[in-house]
């Protein structure tokens, strides 16, 4: 019948005019465009594609699509590498390479197959009972090594990924007869319809079933439907697109793949919202249980039809069929018409129940009724089956066996939304239960096997949707003349053979005997069964095994299938590549980097950037090549002449309106009602639990116009915090909050020569010490452009902070850095800046405070006590713990021997070795050039009462001695910043 492998001389939807070459396990093979890897392998006579998970049994193709538990392969096409795919899901590409992912040295000759010799020990849950002595860690590495499919490889990925968002009136899931008919009936309704079909062509089962619709073959009808729908401007049809998940409020996630002769080149992940949902997902065939039912050559009956009709491949030379419903006969007919030899149809039912039996008999196909398979033989491929009937046992030679145990509707998407499937005993299947509002279920997914009924149903659903949306149009009712699948089949229990040879879950090697054992040991809750035996937990997610396993458990525990129920259906329906979800969000696209407008100027100065929410210069290589040396030079510049620091990320929130001062006073520990125009005040801000949230200065620019400057990291959070309280708690306050941080660039000039440097910028206001003292702000022009200049200090030196609109930023920074004469300004990075403030004992929120620090702990108790009116967090400062003597309070530390490090623990009194109790930690530390000592700030229990005390600090190694001191190490009288 065939001259080349198993390819049939004619038929199928493949393009026989072209041949494409591919490799499987290093063998060069060929197929045709339109083939899947599965059909091409079958056409080339490849029997064994992989090995099972636990016993490493040889495995051939079992299903043609996502339901296949067996054919896991690794694939490399022209666009990338996939370590674990099912062969039936892979469109064949030219030059494609594929490998079996289990079995060593090969899937055909697998040394690991020897594990079958001890399979009696490896039943369900065996590892819970063993490997405890001497320790699981002795066994685990060996067991781990034996697991898993493929392995990711570091190879170039050329596959592009895109994400799309869309809103539609109707989403139709499934482009089989039910979905197509529904879409056709919605044409002209004015509704925007989106139809997603997971196969490359529309039609679903019509492509491989014998059906006549409106006088045409099923596939011809589907093709004409596709043309009609493609012409409709309101309908969008995507093939090769799987709806993988349904989420609340009718959001769906879809994966669309675009492929050409060389493989999948693009994937598009759709996030789609639909007002109506039509579930037309059809059914998946399920197997029958019998001894040694896992041999290569045994496959689902529908898969056989699909191989013949869609791909022109004969799955075997001599086929037998084992069925409990009428679809087995359709397979027999399809095989017969394709010219294959049929060994027998083995039907578990009696002759009267089989409505298509006569047809088979007319064609001379032997039919055995009331029959069950009690054994099979053939290691690398099926060779014989042994059939038992009441009166006889027959051994039949065959190299292929098509199995049908009925059908399971694809209820998954409804399940994602929490809809519990219900067991319908009349059709022997779980169908969707209560579906969400505006969901409609059509066709096979509600176990409708009859096409006429499906079309009628589709028309009715379309009518409902149109009526609900006020749409127009009329139903389209195709005329059907078709060989029906007959009635549904109830899963039946095997009555012959050993349960320890019956595979329920092919991938994980869960056998009927494992389910018996689980039941015996009390793992009878369906989730317990699943977890104990691993039933349905493989990559196929139990599509073929679940119902079989459930019916077995039901029988073993004398319950109905309804009572047993199903496990929870969780997204995704089919596995999604992580790379597709990640959408090339790599590197800088993973998280935006926020750049200063002056970024280029810093780059020119060889700044070393750190990401603090913004890319900020940490230190400058233009100052020195080593971080420590550069930092020392930058500190010296500030102390001795002038340093230039980019403070652009510092928050800038304009707070305006008649109640602005009152409003701000409710957030800060200090009273801001008394803040006059051109004045600046420092304070801290609390959350309601009394813990410090942020600090910074508030400037009064003019009456009713304030500028709050939260820390860089909190700029957005503080603006949102203000806004939330304004809207929700104090809606009648007349205040407006305008966050304008990125509009401005702030350049701080710090050091004894700061005023001279500022003068070079020719401000249009007096900057002398008398006219512009410390803690004041001016608006005017600097360098000829509008600017705000604040005289504040974070370094303890004379300091001006100049803010201009960002478009002048680079010019401003370049100008001050290249100031001529004896000013010698240096760029100063964040590290030097933070050490300068540490010498001065200024707080760095987040470093010197933690999630429990209150203003009382940092020495602001006096200011709190003065406040008469309420502010956020004030009440919490009166709770017992805030005033308790155990509080950790902020103090200074001077190292007496060794050097302090951030995070050093203060050992409790009397302890000199760890482990031991501690009473605080070092929050900031550095060697201070100005003081000539290793200094730090620390939160220490009762610290404010312990000035001068010597404590032991553990910074790794031997604890060092430190003296508790005032936190202001540098210029305690503030002479320098007021100069």
């Amino acid at each position: 019948m065939t001259t080349h492998g198993y390819r049939l001389p004619s038929g199928g939807r493949i393009d026989r005019t072209r041949t494409i070459a591919f490799e499987f396990n290093g063998r060069r093979l060929s197929g045709h465009p339109g083939d899947t890897l599965a059909s091409a392998l079958m056409a080339n006579g490849v029997d064994i594609i992989g090995r099972s998970f636990k016993y490493r049994r040889p495995r051939g193709l079992y299903g043609a699509g996502v339901e296949d538990p067996n054919s896991m392969v690794a694939v490399r096409d022209a666009y990338g590498y996939e370590p674990a795919l099912r062969a039936g899901q892979v469109r064949l590409g030219d030059g494609m390479q594929a490998w079996s992912v289990r079995g060593w040295p090969s899937a055909v000759f697998d040394v690991g197959g020897g594990v079958q010799l001890v399979s009696g020990l490896l039943n369900a849950g065996f590892y819970y009972k063993t490997f405890k002595w001497p320790s699981w860690s002795w066994f685990e590495p060996w067991i781990r090594r034996a697991t898993g499919f493929g392995c990711p490889q570091a190879v170039d990925e050329n596959r592009k990924v895109h994400h799309r968002h869309a809103t539609y009136d109707v989403l139709i899931v499934g482009g089989g007869p039910a979905g197509l008919a529904t879409a056709r009936s919605l044409i002209g309704s004015g509704l925007r319809v989106f139809l997603a079909e997971d196969q490359p062509q529309l039609g679903g089962s019509l492509n491989w079933e014998a059906a006549l619709i409106d006088g045409q073959s099923g596939s011809a009808w589907a093709a004409s439907m596709a043309r009609t729908l493609a012409e409709d401007s309101h309908t969008t049809i995507l093939t090769s697109t799987t709806v993988t998940g349904a989420y609340e409020n009718d959001h769906f996630v879809l994966v669309q793949s675009f492929w050409d002769d060389r493989g999948v080149h693009t994937e598009c992940l759709w996030k789609l919202r639909a007002h109506h949902v039509v579930l037309a997902t059809g059914m998946i065939e399920r197997p029958l249980l019998f001894p040694d039912n896992d041999r290569p050559g045994i496959m689902l009956s529908g898969t056989v039809r699909r191989m013949i009709n869609e791909f022109g491949v004969a799955p075997a030379r001599r086929m037998a069929i084992y069925t409990n419903n009428d679809s087995g006969y359709l397979t027999a007919l399809a095989a017969y018409r394709a010219g294959m030899a049929i060994a027998a149809v083995v039907d578990t039912r009696s002759a009267e129940a089989a409505m298509h039996a006569t047809l088979s008999k007319e064609m001379g196909i032997p039919c055995l009724f009331d029959a069950q398979i009690q054994a099979t033989a053939g290691y690398r491929r099926l060779a014989t089956i042994t059939v038992r009937q009441v009166s006889a046992v027959t051994k039949i030679a065959c190299d292929g066996l098509a199995v049908s145990g009925g059908f399971s509707p694809c209820v998954h998407l409804a399940g994602h939304r929490g809809s519990k499937p219900v067991y319908d005993p009349t059709c022997g299947a779980f169908v969707p239960g209560d579906v969400p509002e505006r969901w409609h279920v059509v066709g096979g997914v509600k176990a409708t096997l009859d096409l006429s009924a499906t079309f009628a149903d589709a028309g009715a659903v379309a009518h409902t949707i149109r009526a609900g949306r006020g749409g127009l149009g009329s139903a389209h009712s195709p005329r059907v003349d078709v060989l029906s699948l007959g009635t549904g089949a109830i899963p039946t229990q095997p009555s012959v053979g050993s349960s320890s040879r019956m595979w329920v879950d092919f991938q994980n090697d869960v056998k009927a005997s494992d389910i018996e054992l689980a039941a015996r040991e009390g793992y009878v809750a369906i989730e317990h069964l699943k977890r104990y035996t691993t039933l349905g937990m493989g990559t196929d997610q139990g599509r073929t095994s679940n119902v079989v396993g459930l019916s077995l458990l039901a029988a073993l525990t004398n319950r109905t299938l309804s009572e047993v129920g199903t496990t929870t259906f969780r997204p995704p329906y089919t596995a999604i590549r992580l790379g597709t979800i990640a959408n090339a969000r790599r590197g800088d696209l993973f998280k935006p980097r926020r750049l200063f407008p002056t970024h280029g100027v810093h780059e020119n100065r060889s700044a070393v950037f750190e990401d603090f929410g913004w890319e900020r210069p940490d230190w400058y290589r233009s100052n020195a090549n080593e971080r420590e040396a550069a930092v020392a030079l930058e500190m010296a510049a500030v102390r001795n002449h002038v340093g230039v620091f980019d403070a652009s990320s510092l928050g800038k929130i304009e707070v305006t309106g008649p109640d602005a001062a009152k409003f701000l006073s409710r957030f800060y520990v200090s009273n801001l009602m008394t803040l006059k125009p051109e004045r600046v005040r420092y304070s801290v801000m609390l959350k309601e639990d009394g813990v410090i949230f942020d600090d910074g200065v508030v400037s009064c620019l003019s009456d009713n116009h304030f500028l709050a400057s939260p820390t860089s990291g909190n700029a957005e959070a503080v603006a949102a915090w203000f806004e939330r309280w304004r809207q929700t708690e104090w809606p009648t306050m007349q205040v407006a909050i305008s966050p304008v941080t990125a509009n401005w660039t702030s350049i701080a000039l710090a050091g004894p020569l700061a005023r001279a440097l500022l003068a070079r910028l020719q401000p249009d206001f007096d900057i002398s010490n008398d006219a512009f003292p410390h803690m004041q702000i001016r608006e005017g022009t600097v360098g000829g452009v509008s600017a705000r200049v604040a005289r504040i200090s974070f370094t303890g030196e004379l300091q001006f902070e100049v803010s201009v609109q960002a478009r002048y930023a680079s010019s401003l920074l370049s100008t001050v850095l290249t100031a001529e004469g004896d000013l010698e300004p240096r760029p100063v990075g964040l590290e030097a800046w933070l050490r300068l403030r540490l010498e001065k004992g200024y707080l760095h929120v987040g470093s010197d405070t933690n999630g429990r620090t209150t203003p009382l702990d940092i020495g602001m108790g006096g200011i709190v006590a003065k406040r008469q009116d309420d502010f956020i967090g004030k009440r919490s400062l009166k709770l017992a713990f805030a005033t308790s003597s155990e509080r950790e309070q902020l103090v200074g530390l001077r190292a007496l021997d060794g050097s302090l490090e951030v995070g050093g623990r203060i050992l409790s009194r009397g302890h000199t070795q760890v482990p031991c109790p501690t009473e605080g930690y070092v929050t900031s530390a550095c060697f201070s050039p100005s003081v000539g000592e290793s200094i730090g700030l620390a939160l220490i229990q009762r610290g404010h009462t312990r000035d001068g005390e010597v404590v032991k600090v553990f910074c790794g190694g031997t604890p060092i001695s430190c003296r508790i001191s005032n936190p202001i190490f540098y210029d305690p009288t503030n002479q320098r910043l007021q100069a």
């Binding site: 592009k160 895109h162 994400h163 799309r164 968002h165 869309a166 809103t167 009136d169 925007r192 969008t236 675009f258 693009t266 598009c268 996030k271 919202r273 007002h275 090339a584 800088d588 696209l589 935006p592 980097r593 926020r594 750049l595 407008p597 970024h599 280029g600 913004w614 304009e654 305006t656 309106g657 008649p658 109640d659 602005a660 009456d703 009713n704 007349q734 205040v735 407006a736 305008s738 304008v740 941080t741 990125a742 509009n743 401005w744 910028l761 600097v782 360098g783 000829g784 452009v785 509008s786 201009v804 609109q805 960002a806 478009r807 002048y808 930023a809 680079s810 010019s811 401003l812 100008t815």
Partner: protein
Amino acid sequence: MKLQLQSSLGVDLDAAPNEAGGLPNGMALRERADVGCVFLNAAVNAAEVIEGGNEALGVQLPARPGSISRGPRCSAIWLTPRAWLVQCPVDDELELASRVNAAFADKRLHAALFTDYLYWLELCGEGAEAILQQGGFVSLERDGLAVGHAKRTLVGNIPAVIIHERKFEWLVGIERSRTKYFVGWLNSVRDAPAG
């Protein structure tokens, strides 16, 4: 002395898709450094300041969400129930802001300089909406964001102001510090397959 103006685009234009090529089917992307902005924010209900605002700006401050009023010198975009974005030629920014601030000395309405906060990109062409929709829904409504309307939303995981100027013409404003990221993102999504 006078500090120099710098292009408001803090990124290398050569790396960006531009009119010379890179974008599919006749689409164009262009920086709009000519757009100046003033952020108007009311400390009281909008109704109380609309009249004064109109007088100072010569344009009706819109009260309907998402709508834009266009005047001879500037246009005003609804941002929140109490706040508007005023677009004007970049050189008019200071003067417009001063006029508003002079009209509302008590600060019931405040005009903040805002030109340098936002970086504006113009995206034109039939596929422009599809490009934006790779970064978010743009609108979850059946009919999308109508022509002549604006909204704030997320595009490519960052906040943006989107204005649907006219058919196939969009203006996108993003915070300046994320410009380089956004242009990189546009580069990564521009060759999406149709469908």
